[in-house]
Amino acid sequence: MEFEWLQVVWFVLWGVLWGVYFLLDGFDFGVSMLLPVLGAASERERTAMYKATGPFWDGNEVWLITAGGVTFAAFPLAYAVLFSSLYTALLILLFCLILRGVTFELRFQWDNPWYRLTCDGLGVLASFVAPLLLGVAFSNLFRGLPLQFDPARDFFMYQGNILNLLHPYCLLGGVLFVVMFVYHGALYLAWRVDGDLRKKSFYMAKLVYPLFLLLFLLYVALTFFWTDHFIEPYLASPFLFAIPVLCAVLFLSSGYNTYVKNSAGRAALASCGGILTFTLCGVMGMFPNLIPSRLDFANSSLNLANASSSNLTLGIMLAVAVVFVPTVIGYQIWAHRKLSWTVKADY
């Protein structure tokens, strides 16, 4: 297969963008999912949990918009096929993201317990379903979608319905995302708040970590059983094995910091790296495909050669990315430092 270096650069950046999105929004997904567990007792603790993620959820979600936008811009055909194939699932994901954002902000605009309970309920449900769907969707990519190129329509047609997405491997991927973000969010919360809430959330992280590790290992093992081509890029370029090794080291170091060092901040940072490398492991396992077809891998997969934008577009976007992505990272880190005060959960 022929492809150009710009396409390879964008393939890797595509993976990085999704990874950064997961590691950032993973914080607020996790904190929201923990709301009914850790915030059940008092409105004060619930408020503290919202305050911990309040300044950041929107900025985190922009990484998703950028990842989506980059899919559209760099690989238009992959964007078109992926989003139309996963139509219903994707719209449910969008509705979840809408409900989360709205309830996060509007909850505080009216001091009525029933209203706030409704907002909390919708927000928690949405924050659970969204990562579940993302995990299921990405596992389906690793496994390959049932795509068949239809010459009459000149389009890659999805053969099946939404139920075909619910293979046990993909469901496991969904659960893994949920548990991973619960762990990740619990660490974040433990880092950001103080008092009883800090103790409770750190305890939660310690409780969830073994489950996460177990699911993670199971998922990796099943990836070799239930995907057909996933290992091929790694065997072709063995240096790629550095990514899964790094991923394992980071997640283990996160556990080490949780259990031995008792440092939630460091553990959260390590799990950020873990999630990023984990995403990259998955994306690189598909290389050079963006959406492998499991029906007709050779002719119906979407890859760098048949789905990329023109070199002119890729070049212009690279120039924009080189200037703006480091700038964005710079001011987001600055904002995180300014706005990451220790939230007082008990006055």
Partner: protein, 441 residues
């Protein structure tokens, strides 16, 4: 059922609801930035309260704009897969650049602003709201250049059956996109200033925080004069560009069927609802007026709809009626803005007259939506003018019932969040600056 019709309805719902929030985000951020600048310069706490009071309404409005915007970006892929495949090389990159340049800036610094009153210095805080305001207009520019490509495609070549970027410069300097940008941003400021005048009038009527709302009203009425006039100028330019680049839309906007030199403008017109040639009512012609408005010459010829094949004509009546109503309201806004600026010092003594301003609040919302109806319905039957038909641009793997279900779900969710959002905004507006509570501390 036709999935294309359902997808069009779904996209219309998503954009119309999204655009309920966009203009206020663009306009009010500048308004707040101006007030906060006065605070930092003079140290007068009243201006800080101005920023906080209007900021509260801004934040509710902003979150609704953000979440409805997320859905839009993904709708191209879900419902318009062939369109995405066909123009993604150009259109997709503009969306990606919009996110990278504007959305990050907007979302990061609005958080600094909302949560940073006591956490960053006064000047940094002021810079944050200016960055938000700046990001809003940057975002508008990129998305309108993207839409401009759909109205007047430039800088592309057809290669392997899809449009490929050939000149980024041509896409960046698309005159249609820039005119839409200026016209839309003016509209955003008009909506904002009328909203501020309306809310101020409410409090002045009930004699609450008089000095505060007189200051609000004064700034808003000044902005209203500037931007109603500017909107008129850019709108006129946009109309002429439409005549140049999208003649079928122009003909539909004025319901012109016959091609004739010295084209008159009929003050009283009613098109047929069946889209058949000829109008139901056509009276009171002003000779050569349409030619003059569209081309600066009384003697030019405007191409009538009869000279377009029937399958290249937009649906005339909604385009025509939306356009006429937009023009009428827009013109009225100029008059109201000028009067308001003149009487802004003594506006408190208007008594019952203040209710005019309160009742006016929804009209700019309507006017801006009408403008978009003209733009988007007038482009039909094309999704990219002259290049790709809407009917051919849908998603092959998506069935009509899938779209129907998501359309109904979207209507329910958007209805719920919009009603909540507007109720809470009205609540915050009525509560007034005296009882500000600090949720973001």
């Amino acid at each position: 059922m036709d999935p294309i019709i359902l997808s069009r309805l779904q996209f219309a719902l998503a954009t119309i609801v999204h655009f309920l929030y966009v203009p206020l985000t663009i306009g009010l951020s500048f308004y707040i930035a101006i007030m906060e600048t006065r605070y930092v310069r003079t140290g007068d706490e009243m201006y800080k309260t101005q920023a906080k009071f209007w900021g509260k309404i801004f934040l509710i409005n902003f979150v609704l704009g953000v979440v409805t915007g997320i859905a839009l970006e993904f709708q191209f892929g879900t419902n318009w897969a062939i369109y995405s495949k066909y123009v993604g090389d150009i259109f997709g990159s503009l969306l990606a650049i919009e996110a990278t340049m504007a959305f990050f800036l907007e979302s990061t610094f609005i958080a600094v602003w909302a949560f940073g009153w006591d956490r960053v210095s006064k000047k940094t805080h002021l810079a944050a709201i200016w960055l938000v305001a700046f990001a809003g207009t940057i975002s508008a520019l990129w998305i309108l250049l993207a839409n401009g490509f759909m109205q007047h495609p430039v800088g592309y070549e057809i290669k392997d059956g899809v449009a490929r970027l050939s000149s980024f410069w041509a896409v960046l300097t698309n005159p249609y996109g820039w005119l839409m940008y200026f016209h839309t941003v003016c509209g955003a400021f008009i909506l904002t200033s009328f909203l501020v005048m309306g809310v101020s009038a409410w409090h002045l009527y009930f004699n609450q925080s008089k000095e505060f709302f007189l200051a609000s009203f004064k700034l808003a009425s000044t902005l209203a004069v500037i931007f109603t006039l500017a909107s008129f100028v850019f709108g006129h330019q946009l109309g002429q560009a439409t005549n140049r680049y999208q003649p079928a839309k122009m003909a539909a906007m004025e319901a012109v069927w016959d091609t004739e030199p010295d084209t008159p403008m009929y003050l009283l017109t009613l098109p047929k609802f069946t889209n058949e040639p000829g109008n139901l009512i056509q009276a009171l012609p002003v000779p050569g007026a349409l030619s003059f408005l569209a081309t600066n010459s009384f003697h030019s010829t405007i191409k009538g709809l009869n000279d377009f094949p029937a399958d290249e004509r937009p649906l005339v009546w909604p385009v025509f009626l939306s356009f006429r109503l937009m023009i009428t309201l827009g013109t009225a806004f100029i008059v109201i803005a000028i009067i308001s600026a003149i009487i802004s010092k003594m506006v408190a003594s208007l008594g019952w007259g203040l209710w005019v301003y309160i009742l006016l609040i929804p009209l700019p919302y309507l006017t801006l939506q009408l403008g978009w109806l003209v733009t988007e319905l007038g482009r039909q039957p094309w999704i990219v003018y002259g290049m790709l038909r809407t009917a051919d641009a849908g998603s092959p793997p998506v069935d009509w019932y899938q779209v129907l279900i998501t359309l109904l779900a979207m209507a329910a969710i958007y209805g719920l969040i919009s009603v909540s959002g507007f109720v809470l905004m009205i609540k915050a507006a009525i509560k007034g600056p005296d009882k500000l509570d600090e949720h973001y501390a």
